[in-house]
Symmetry: C2
Subunit: 350 residues, 2 copies
């Protein structure tokens, strides 16, 4: 692994994390590798299933690289899925076309025996192999972001067996039997630490923790199921891999952002579309790297509406530690030209 | 219509809106009339369809009264649905069992001709008849809350034709053609004003505006589609019915709460489950009546977990202008005993 300082020096994405002002702002987009790209759809078809794609280092690396070739983003994000962790732990995950993930739900402590940290080796290794390939194949100036789902968000799928509107199965278990539920969350936390650590060892420059369902919890539950496990992951990464920036994405929890930053120790926060620019500004002013938060629908709309909002976001975050991104993932119908347009406009600010 | 002051004097729910401290806090629960009550299911079966129940003054009044008889809440909320407005405007709404609402979607300006304010009379009158019956049948000490969906939230159903995870159809139209979309929102705003005004004339003591999908909008869109129409409704109500308290419920938008309160002029805000108690405290300290925000799932769980959280919420809001409520509606599996338990515990604080 190359020396951290020298990596940072050549990768603009990492500048804001050292407190350096950087103009134009570095840019990458959540789900920048994906169905909106025809070259992705080709590889996806070749892979067979979605999870097979995640576990094929050559193909996963290829789709990770595609948007870098097209748009020259400042960071690539490992192509994978947050459900790799429960899948590797032994809870078989299936992706049904157009239906989203399906898992045999784990609803109570008795079911937890189906999962074991000892099972994760083979699948985690495949993902780390993708990371290692990527670090070799990426341009020197492109940072590589590794990631995992936050334990809370992954738990919602583990317990519900699928996506859900209000995560009620997991939330209800957490109320009914907090001790039992905490065993699930701890297992996911420990697995996430191993998983992220493997990604860093394989060459990831930074990490993002996706907590897509952080916004459904009351504040006391947020402390216990979002903040505590995230803080544990951050502490473990600090101890094992000092200097690797960690970005948290507690989606839908803008009202808890200050507490989240202080209590988890993340270096940066990714802000969802609904996070007010004023809140982002405030956080960035107090030294946290802020990422966000263009509405992905504006990439569908294009034109003046898109340009105007890009302008507004950049003006708000000007001179602050900021990474331009979306507030949520790119949607499949997005015209790639609109993505190119945003990158061009950002770069023109240099 | 009786004099406002004398009504306020005898209805504890209204006290916090006059700046009076009140212990124990007044209490009502969102969806307190509903499927968790066996007596509701009986009337619901008798009515045939869900919307027929909304449009049958006798039956709608009966189900509104049921939870008052059982639990003695400080306020009754008119039994109706936020989609009465588009239904009355001419966009036929169907409720399919276990499937949620279905509407023939209005996706662009050309479709808007299907809706007209002039059509609303008959259906709005039926709802107002329910209100008038209720004001006669309710105990003198029970306040009656009228309501509507906020124009933004109703528009998401009008455009999507059903509930959706991210309200993308409406959000996309708003980006693509803000002028056209604003015509829809204005029509819904004007209809809501007539609808609420009719409810106040028929005897509603207070109003709540439900903006369930306020949390999916970027801040600039929030200004235009949440704040502006809500402010217009509040201004119109102030002019027509001074002194009738208005509560806004911008669900999922806790990070925009300060702006929402200042810019709309609502007297109170209902806070969803994820709103931190610290934020609620702050708003109440600056004089806004705050309602909330017990997690409805705790009414399923019951026991110590329920008691503890009720205690925490009350302790946070002690001495402040506060109405105890849920952060979202009661879920159908809720044991009525748990509702009774909460009301008893609150009253024991008197």
């Amino acid at each position: 692994m190359r020396d951290l300082e020298s990596r940072t020096a050549e990768r603009r994405f990492l500048f804001p994390f050292t407190g350096k002002a950087v103009a134009p702002a570095p840019v990458w987009l959540m789900r920048q590798a994906g169905r909106y790209l025809p070259e992705y759809r080709k590889v996806r078809a070749q892979a067979g299933s979605f999870l097979k794609l995640c576990y094929s280092p050559e193909l996963a690396a290829e789709v990770t690289l595609q948007p870098i070739r097209r748009f020259g983003f400042d960071a690539a994000i490992l192509f994978s899925d947050i459900l790799v962790v429960p899948d590797a732990l032994g809870q078989t995950v299936r992706f049904e076309e157009g239906e989203g993930p399906r898992l045999d739900p784990i609803r109570a402590l008795d079911d937890l025996g189906r999962l074991a940290l000892s099972k994760t080796g083979a699948k985690f290794s495949l993902v780390c192999e993708t990371v290692a390939r990527l670090r070799q194949d990426l341009p020197r100036e492109t940072a590589l972001i590794g990631f995992c789902g936050a334990p809370w968000t992954v738990a919602t799928y583990v317990v519900e067996g699928r996506g859900s509107a209000d995560q009620s199965a997991a939330r209800h278990w957490a109320y009914r039997d907090p001790q039992g539920f905490s065993q699930l969350v701890e297992l996911l936390t420990d697995a996430s630490i191993e998983y992220l650590s493997g990604q860093v060892r394989a060459g990831a420059d930074a990490l993002q923790i996706f907590d897509s369902w952080a916004g459904s919890l009351a504040d006391d539950q947020f402390e216990r199921w979002v903040i505590a496990p995230t803080a544990k992951i951050v502490q473990a990464m600090r101890a094992r891999h000092p200097g690797v920036p960690i970005i948290g994405f507690p989606r839908g929890a803008s009202a808890m952002l200050t507490r989240y930053i202080e209590a988890t120790g993340v270096d940066g926060v990714s802000c969802d579309t609904s996070c007010p620019l004023g809140v982002m500004q405030k956080k960035a002013r107090s030294g946290t790297v802020v990422q966000g938060n263009l509405d992905p629908l504006l990439l569908l709309t294009g034109g003046d509406a898109l340009d105007r909002r890009v302008e507004e976001i950049c003006a708000s975050m000007n001179g602050l530690p900021f990474v331009f991104n979306l507030g949520h993932g790119i949607v499949p119908d997005t015209p790639p030209e609109n993505v190119a347009r945003v990158v061009e406009r950002l770069r023109a600010k240099g």
